[in-house]
Every structure is written in C-alpha cells, then in structure tokens.
Symmetry: C2
Subunit: 132 residues, 2 copies
Amino acid sequence: MKYIEKLRNSGLRPTKQRLQICEILFETKKTFHFTINDLAIKIKDQTKNKISLATIYNTVHAFEKKGYLKQIPINSSQTYFDTNTTEHHHFYDLKEEKLIDLENCDVGPINIKKKIDGKKIKSVEVLVKLGD
Amino acid sequence: MKYIEKLRNSGLRPTKQRLQICEILFETKKTFHFTINDLAIKIKDQTKNKISLATIYNTVHAFEKKGYLKQIPINSSQTYFDTNTTEHHHFYDLKEEKLIDLENCDVGPINIKKKIDGKKIKSVEVLVKLGD
DNA sequence: GTTGTAGTTTATAATGATTCTAAAAAGGTG
DNA sequence: CACCTTTTTAGAATCATTATAAACTACAAC
C-alpha cells in the first residue's frame, strides 16, 4: 500500500490506526484544511473506529515534520493543517472563520529582498484576511 | 495626556492600570513584538505595580480591535502582538522562535489577483520562516 | 463635595487545545 | 511461539485564554 511508505518515511510503523488516518488525509486528490478536532470527527464518522486524540496528534505531527502536511500560520485557538504541501497561500474569511486556497498564480511572485546572515528561507506564506 | 484619547477611542475609560499599559506599549517610537506574558512581566518590572492578567488581556484586545495593535499570524502557543500597525511583514526564526520585522520595502508589492464576491481584503500578511 | 450607577479590577475558577503518562495491546524479529 | 520494542489509549497534567463575581473607581448629576 502506498501509505506504508509515507509512514515509514515519517519514522512510523504502519499500524491500523495510522493507515486509517492516512486514508482520510490522502485518499483524495482534492486537498483540504483541517484541525485535529475536525480530523477526529471525520475518523469517527467514516471509519466507525474511534482513534484516540493522542494517536491523531502524534501521527499528524510526524507527517508535518516530514513535510507531508503543512501548518497554516493563523491566529486561532486551534492549529490548522493543510494537505496541500505545495507553496501556496490563503484567504481567511474573518466572519465565517474559513480558509480558502489561493493558488500560486493568484498571487504575484513574492520577492524578499532582505537577507539574514546564516539563515535560509524555509517558507513564504501569505495570509489575506477578508472582511465584508 | 495623549494616551487618554487612545483609550477613549477604544471604548475604555482611562484608569491607572490602563495608562500604565499604554506607557509600556506606546512610550517609545521603536515598535516591538510581544505576548501577553511578555507584557505582564514588563509591567511588573517597570512599574512595580502588578496588573492582573484579566486587565491586560482586556486592554490589549480593545486596542487590537481598534487597530492600535496588530496580531501577528503565526503558529505558536501564545498570541503575538505588534505595536507596529503599518502594513509590514515578518521573518520568523524557527530555531530561536523570534520575530524580525520586514519593512515594506524589503518585500516587493504583493498583488492578489483572486477576488471573492462580497468580501473586502482587510490585510495581507507575509510570514517568512527561517531555518539554518 | 456627595451620591449613584455603570464601568473596572482583581483573584480565582472554568475552559479548551495540546501534551504527558503509564498500563495494556500490537508489531516485528528471531 | 516468545520476546522486546513501539504504539495505543484513557485519563491526568499543562498552559494560554476567558469567564465570574465581589470589591473598587470614574464620573456625571445633584
């Protein structure tokens, strides 16, 4: 199974629970945004198998560390993750508290002119807040 | 005092505690980043007067709502605020967990091509993560 | 100034996301 | 199968933030 490789790459053994998490995260080509709580609910609904929060946190964080998931920088009480790990940006609808993808072509190229000695740019993320 | 106006504009009566908070936040032209906890410590050190956390949270949030402070979108357990409310962007040093200002001229103009019906862009914020 | 009331401050409790823990369960190797 | 390590899990612990309710204060009306 294709998920086993992802898990091993992330330093995780392929267990039943982790494979179920993979199925929800990576089954579809369509990427999406989620919080740990969203994911826990989805798992409970789709698999009838409750997976404990600790396991979900562990697995998601391992994927994030390996680059299979990305955190979305946003001020919210919960952490948002994105299954789309390509460089892209987001609208955040302040009223509905919803994230919307901005494809890379929706934003002109971003040119960071300042450099910090000894440091490399690891990511450039744009958050566009929307009001009415 | 110049702070009284800021407080009244934010819908707050000028009290001793709030004026002390203003003095720390707005005394200097040099802007800075802080968390609520940073601010609480600064207050205790500089004024010898402990102000309760609830008051600090209330005051900071009122200023943020009015636009005298800005939240910095970043994934961290604490919320970061900025006394620089002009449109500008940030480096975030992942190892040292420190924010560094990027002046507007350090980043080329950002052109958001996508539009969402009925929504207005309220802010555009860029976070550049730095690693070694 | 005194008084009244609505707004404030405060310590403390409550909340909620996340992390930790330790015991039970499962993976993987010989 | 037997062993040892990793994993899962429920529940406890942590920590930032928010709510509460009682004591206090600003300030307007008198």
